[in-house]
Structures are given as structure tokens and as C-alpha cells.
């Protein structure tokens, strides 16, 4: 007979949420650190988003009118890109990783709590450096910082940019070491690697990429800083340096970094699609292994960013490896569709964003395969087609999955449900705003509108007006989410322990969890996605009785007749 390690007939006491002060100081509690990551990332998201709207405002007309000059525009998109990648998406997935991984593994904390706190506290100074660099000025080389733009044609802001990214890289590596050790060493009895939640698999693959690739960026940044302040000429062709040296090392990190930003989102989507369609994951092992395959093949494709500057004999091999990476990605898409196929789908906000991820990411993936073809890449190189492609991957993929994760796990963090009506409105405006911001960029890109230029040919203006209006809709939609989070934090309906009736272990404790997570070592269910069985029903009912039910009027999944502390209901969820 399996046991669950709580007295079933006694409802566990509610846990008080940590006070504001605890979130503002050094803490080694992974849950506090997770929230610190999330709030910090959201602040930077707002800053990056405001900068994006500045870009779109400038592009309403073909002339340079909003910005003082081209330099100001260069700084604007450089800081926008850097903030969104290094201070929003990557730390935000760090937030979910920190909060969820110990809970999903039934552990009390991460393997190295102190190191975990250090990894977070490197981020605020890095952000200050970066934004300080923006104020100092002349951070003009884009988030890619290609020399000689970043060496000969940028100011002190570029130096601060490099220092900032250095700090963020160290933070990422420390975080990734923590994730790997926690996942490999701290799983509970009864949870083999093949019974681990798919979010943990995704974070494991991501962390392997971080620890192997980020040091390359550290090396490149060291050389860049030496060129800027040390008098060396690694990247100065006039003095025997080589600008392609930067591109090779930078992209050896930065292409895998795309998967650092996408793989955790894939893990999120795997969780949500299964829970909200009440069906086991289709092809669990294939999803898990395809994450590792993406991590591996991701190291063999970097030069597709350099087709126009690469030796001709290397183009075809990199074209082939780039196309190969679509295979494990396709396996995931196929498995996700198989998961929801025939399921009892509940169109919650989390599910809507997960489905939004599915549709948008596929578009980004297809345009990625198009860009992998060398002749096509030549045509659209450095045009808005590329801007469209990576926004479909990083917004349509990463940000949609972050939104889905917020709706799914906010109840666990806060103990309260997000408002579903606001959530659906947020989804509708995001979906429409996002699509009409970025899809038309395919066309203007193919027609030849170059990226990173404030002045463009007048024939592109009509599409840029459409894009600009849609971008402001997208920006407004974010405010709805923030309002929803702020309102629901104090006034949302009580979530109970397990509002979605999910089988992974983070739901087998109170919402929010106590500082020690679990009173005793929890017993994981035999299959984290084994919905639809009597055993699963019994396990979920036990959690309800031990840790508390949601408000009857909340948007949580229905209980099929169960009431607080009542005997177990009949099976057939």
C-alpha cells in the first residue's frame, strides 16, 4: 500500500506568505530567490518593453524624427535586445527553475542555497551596469556587439555593457551548476530520471548548455574588454586582429543561448498541456530525449549566423546541421499535439498561452528552417525577416510560455488564483498584438527593409504603421497581466494546494509552501502525468484532503464531487 506522508484526516494549516522585507534582502530559501528573480526580471521586461515601444514610435515615419540622431536609435535597440535576452527571458526561467525544481523533486531546497542567492544578487548590479551604460551613452553595437562597432565605434557604455554581461554569465553558470546537481542528486526515492517532471528535464538540458557554452562568452568578453581598455587589437583588422574571431566565439555561445531561452519554455508547455487536457504526456521519453538532442545539436549550428561572412566550403555543413535541429523540435511538437489530442481540454489562461506558444513557435521554427537555406539567407540577411523570425521564437516561444507558466504556478506561489477573465483578455490582446507586430515583418523584410536602421524607404511606411499600432496593443496587454497579478496577490480567490489537480510534487504541499517545503519526504506518484486512472484520482483526492481545496467559485479544475475533508470520491476524473 502506498502512503502519502501527511495525516489525511487533518487539514494542514495554511502558511503565511513571506513579508515584503524578506524579498528585499539576502535569503537562501529557493522560493524567496525564485520570486526575487521573477520580480527583477519583470521590472527589466517593462524597461525593455518601453524601449521597444520607443523603437516602434520612431519607425512610424520613414524619417528620423523621434530620436535625436542615429546614435540614440542604435543605443535604443542595443539595450532593448540585451535587456530582453539577458535580464528578462533568461532570469525569468531562472525564477521558475528556482521556485519549482526543489518542489517538483520533493527536496527542501537547492543543492547549494548560498550559491543560489549569490547567483541572483549578481543580477541587479549587472542590470545597473547595463542601464548605466545606456545613460553614459554609445552602447551602439546591438546585443551581438560585433567589432569593430563594439570596439572602435562605441563609447564607455559599451565597456559597461561587456562588464554587465560578464556578471550575468557568471550568475547563469552558478545557477546552472545548482540546477544540475539538484536534479541529479536530490530526487526522492521512487523518482527515477524517467519519472521526473519534463520541466526538470528541460532545465537539465538547459543547464548543460549554460555550463558548456557560457564560458566561451566569458572568454570573448575578456578579449573585448582588453581591446576596449587594454590596448590590444584582437578584433582590429588594421592591426592584425580578426573581427570574425568575435563572431565565431560569440555565436558558439549565443546560438545555444537561443535554446537556453526556449528549452525551459518547452518544459513548461509539456507540463501545462498534459495537466489542462487531463491526459498523459504522449511520448514522454521522446520529449525528454529531444531536449537533450537539441542541447547537443545546438552546439553544431552557430555558423549559420555568419553565412555571409563564412568560408564557402563551411556553409553547406552548417546548413545541414541547422536543418537537423528541426527534427528533435518537430518530435516535441508532434508529441504535444498527441498529448492534447482527444483530451478533456480546459481553456484556462495557462492553456491558452501554451496553445499560443505552440502556434507561434511553429511559425518561428518554419522561418528558421527557411533561414537555414543559404540562398534564402543571403536574400534576407540583416532584414526585418530575421527580426520577425527571432521574435516568433523568443516572444511567441519563450514569452508565451513564461505567461503560461505565470498563470499555471501563480496559485502555488501566492496561494491565490489569477483572475481568468483578465487572463483571457490578456491572452487575446497579446495574441493579436504579437501576431500583427511581427508577422508583417516577414513581408517588409523580404521586400528589403534593413534592420537596425531608423530611416527607411517610404514604401514600407504603411506596414510600419500597422506594426506600430499592434506593438502598442501588445505593450498594453502586459499591463493587464501586471494588474491581474497585483490584484490577485491580495484579492484573488483561494487556490488551495492543487487547483489544477496536477500530479507533480510541487502541488503536494500547501500554497504557498512552508519554508521547509514538505513536512516529511513526499512520496511521488508513479507517473507524473498518469491522469485518468483510479490511482491518480486517489492521489489527487488525498492531496485535496491534506492540504486544502480551492474556493468553490474559483477557476480551478472541478473536483467531480469531492468536498473538503470528505471521503475519497469515485474515480473517473
Amino acid at each position: 500500500m502506498a502512503t502519502i506522508s501527511v495525516p489525511l484526516e487533518q487539514l494542514q494549516p495554511k502558511v503565511k506568505r513571506p513579508g515584503l522585507g524578506q524579498y528585499l534582502r539576502w535569503s537562501v530559501d529557493h522560493k524567496i530567490i525564485g520570486v526575487q528573480y521573477a520580480v527583477t526580471a519583470l521590472i527589466f521586461f517593462l524597461i525593455g518593453g518601453a524601449l521597444a515601444l520607443g523603437i516602434r514610435w520612431e519607425l512610424f515615419t520613414p524619417d528620423l524624427d523621434f530620436m535625436a540622431d542615429g546614435t540614440a536609435y542604435n543605443s535604443l535597440f542595443s539595450i532593448h535586445g540585451t535587456v530582453m535576452i539577458f535580464l528578462w527571458i533568461i532570469p525569468m526561467f531562472g525564477a521558475f527553475g528556482n521556485y519549482l525544481i526543489p518542489l517538483q523533486l520533493g527536496a527542501k531546497d537547492m543543492a547549494f542555497p548560498w550559491l543560489n542567492a549569490l547567483a541572483f544578487w549578481l543580477i541587479p548590479p549587472a542590470g545597473i551596469f547595463l542601464l548605466g551604460g545606456y545613460l553614459v551613452g554609445q552602447t551602439e553595437a546591438g546585443w551581438t556587439s560585433y567589432p569593430p562597432l563594439s570596439t572602435l565605434f562605441s563609447g564607455d557604455g559599451q565597456t559597461m555593457w561587456a562588464m554587465s554581461i560578464h556578471l550575468l554569465g557568471i550568475s547563469s553558470i552558478l545557477g546552472a551548476i545548482n540546477f544540475i546537481v539538484t536534479i541529479l542528486n536530490m530526487r526522492p526515492e521512487g523518482m527515477s530520471l524517467w519519472q521526473m517532471p519534463l520541466f526538470c528535464w528541460a532545465l537539465l538540458a538547459t543547464s548543460f548548455i549554460v555550463v558548456m557554452a557560457t564560458p566561451f562568452l566569458a572568454g570573448a568578453l575578456t578579449l573585448l574588454l582588453l581591446d576596449r581598455v587594454g590596448g590590444t587589437a584582437f578584433f582590429d583588422a588594421n592591426r592584425g586582429g580578426d573581427v570574425l574571431l568575435w563572431q565565431n566565439i560569440f555565436w558558439f555561445y549565443s546560438h545555444p543561448a537561443v535554446y537556453i531561452m526556449v528549452l525551459p519554455g518547452m518544459g513548461v508547455v509539456s507540463e501545462i498541456l498534459s495537466v489542462h487536457s487531463r491526459k498523459p504526456v504522449f511520448g514522454y521519453r521522446m520529449i525528454a530525449l529531444s531536449s537533450m538532442a537539441i542541447a547537443l545539436v545546438g552546439f553544431m549550428v552557430w555558423a549559420h549566423h555568419m553565412f555571409t561572412s563564412l568560408q564557402p566550403e563551411l556553409r553547406i555543413p552548417f546548413m545541414i546541421t541547422t536543418m537537423i535541429i528541426a527534427v528533435p523540435t518537430g518530435i516535441k511538437i508532434f508529441s504535444w499535439i498527441g498529448t492534447i489530442w482527444g483530451g478533456k481540454i480546459r481553456f484556462t489562461s495557462a492553456m491558452l498561452f501554451a496553445l499560443g506558444f505552440l502556434s507561434m513557435f511553429v511559425i518561428g521554427g518554419i522561418s528558421g528552417v527557411m533561414l537555414a537555406a543559404v540562398p534564402f539567407n543571403y536574400q534576407v540577411h540583416d532584414t526585418y525577416f530575421v527580426v520577425s523570425h527571432f521574435h516568433f521564437v523568443l516572444f511567441g516561444g519563450s514569452v508565451f510560455s513564461i505567461y503560461a507558466a505565470i498563470y499555471h504556478w501563480f496559485p502555488k506561489v501566492s496561494g491565490r488564483m489569477l483572475d481568468e477573465r483578465l487572463g483571457r483578455l490578456h491572452f487575446a490582446l497579446t495574441y493579436i498584438g504579437f501576431f500583427f507586430t511581427f508577422f508583417p515583418m516577414h513581408w517588409v523584410g523580404m521586400l528589403g527593409m534593413p534592420r537596425r536602421v531608423a530611416v527607411y524607404a517610404p514604401e514600407f511606411q504603411s506596414w510600419n504603421i500597422v506594426i506600430g499600432i499592434a506593438s502598442f496593443v501588445l505593450g498594453f496587454s502586459t499591463l493587464i497581466l501586471l494588474y491581474n497579478m497585483a490584484w490577485s496577490w491580495s484579492k484573488g480567490r483561494v487556490a488551495g494546494a492543487n487547483p489544477w489537480r496536477a500530479l507533480t510534487l510541487e502541488w503536494a504541499t500547501t500554497s504557498p509552501p512552508p519554508a521547509w517545503n514538505f513536512d516529511e519526504d513526499p512520496v511521488p506518484f508513479e507517473d507524473p502525468y498518469g491522469y485518468g486512472t483510479e490511482a491518480a484520482q486517489a492521489y489527487l483526492d488525498a492531496i485535496d484532503r491534506a492540504f486544502g481545496l480551492p474556493d468553490a467559485a474559483s477557476d480551478a479544475l472541478p473536483r467531480t464531487g469531492s468536498t473538503p475533508l470528505s471521503p475519497a470520491p469515485a474515480a473517473g476524473d
Binding site: 489525511l8 545548482n178 490511482a535
Partner: protein, 207 residues
């Protein structure tokens, strides 16, 4: 399948369970520490690999080595390499000694390892000036690689000195049951050795 509550525990059972929990957690901490350091080593060695790639790509520069200059002589670095290897061997012996509770032997071997490591560091500092800036791009690459390695060597050497100071101040502090600080320092010193051997071959033996 049913899910039931467990029987309440007696006070004796609770104490026993707490003792087992503490033992389990101590073992887990050590296991985590070992894996964490291993992953860190595997990760951070990639910076050194990146610098080797820089070295390789910069060799194609027309200004790699200007006429009239030659690559640095390998004699002194070879001596330094031998000292480093001896230092690592000595550190390894010290670790084995502390694991066997031979505290006096541990301390003496550890002192030897630290002194040999210091000698390696001083010799390699002199190598920073083995090439003049006018020699070409080789000088920048050479100095970055030597300097980067030296920065890591001095950081780990500092840890060795700290372990030595602790061991001298409290002779029984490190013993068969408590030697993780020693083991971690030795593992990181191995890292310094592996990184240096890679650089040594690239800098002095590949023309």
C-alpha cells in the same frame, strides 16, 4: 490503490529517525559538493578552450609574428611545469594522508605543494614579459593566456594557503572525517594543472 496516514512515531523512533536524517543530509552535502566542483571544472575549462581557439585563429593573422622575432623559449616554462606537476603530486599525497588521519604528514606534504605552486606562479609571471609588444599579435595572445591562467593559479593557491593556515592553527581540524576543504582545493589545483598543460603545449610546442 489507497493512500493512508502513517502510524504516530514514539519518541525513540523520532530520535533515531532524526539521527538518520542528519547522516543522510551530511552524505548528500558531500555528494553535492563533489558533483558541483566537477561540473564547475568541466564548465570553466571551456574558457581555456576558447582561448586556445583564439590562439589558433589568430595564427592566420599576417601580423601574428613579425620578422626578426621568435616564439619564446620553452626551457623555463618546462621547469615551471615540472614544479606544478610535483606540486599537484604532493597535494594528492597530502589528501591521501589526511584521509588516513596522518595529520603531521598531511601538513608537511601540503606545505611542499604550496611552496612548489608558488614557485610555478613566480616563474610564469616572468613569462608575461617573454615577448615584446612589437613582436606582433602573438604577444597579446600569449599574455592573455599566461595572465588568465595565472589569475586562476593565484586564486587556488590562495585557497591552499588558507587550508595550510587552518591546519597549522588547529592541527586536528582536518581529519579522516572532515577534509572536504582539502579535497576541493586539490581538485581545483588539478584544474590548474590540466589548464596549464593545455596552454603549455599550445604556447611552447606548436610552432
Amino acid at each position: 490503490m489507497q493512500y493512508t496516514t502513517r502510524k504516530p512515531l514514539t519518541a525513540e523512533e523520532k530520535r533515531e529517525r532524526e539521527r538518520q536524517r542528519q547522516e543522510r543530509e551530511a552524505a548528500l552535502r558531500l555528494k553535492n559538493n563533489k558533483l558541483g566542483v566537477t561540473i564547475f571544472q568541466g564548465s570553466w575549462i571551456m574558457v581555456f578552450v576558447a582561448l586556445i581557439i583564439v590562439n589558433w585563429q589568430m595564427r592566420y593573422s599576417p601580423e601574428w609574428l613579425k620578422p626578426g622575432y621568435s616564439t619564446p623559449d620553452a626551457t623555463l616554462p618546462s621547469v615551471a611545469t615540472a614544479l606544478l606537476l610535483a606540486s599537484a603530486w604532493s597535494a594528492r599525497s597530502a589528501l591521501r594522508a589526511v584521509k588516513a588521519d596522518q595529520v603531521a604528514q598531511f601538513l608537511s606534504q601540503w606545505r611542499t605543494a604550496t611552496v612548489l605552486g608558488g614557485a610555478f606562479f613566480l616563474i610564469m609571471l616572468s613569462q608575461l614579459f617573454a615577448l615584446p609588444p612589437e613582436a606582433g599579435q602573438i604577444t597579446s595572445v600569449f599574455r592573455v593566456m599566461i595572465g588568465y591562467h595565472a589569475a586562476h593559479a593565484i586564486a587556488i593557491a590562495f585557497m591552499m594557503v588558507q587550508v595550510m593556515r587552518y591546519a597549522q592553527a588547529r592541527p586536528k581540524h582536518y581529519n579522516a572525517n572532515n577534509h572536504w576543504a582539502v579535497e576541493a582545493t586539490v581538485r581545483l589545483w588539478y584544474f590548474v594543472v590540466v589548464a596549464w598543460i593545455m596552454f603549455y603545449v599550445v604556447l611552447y610546442w606548436i610552432p
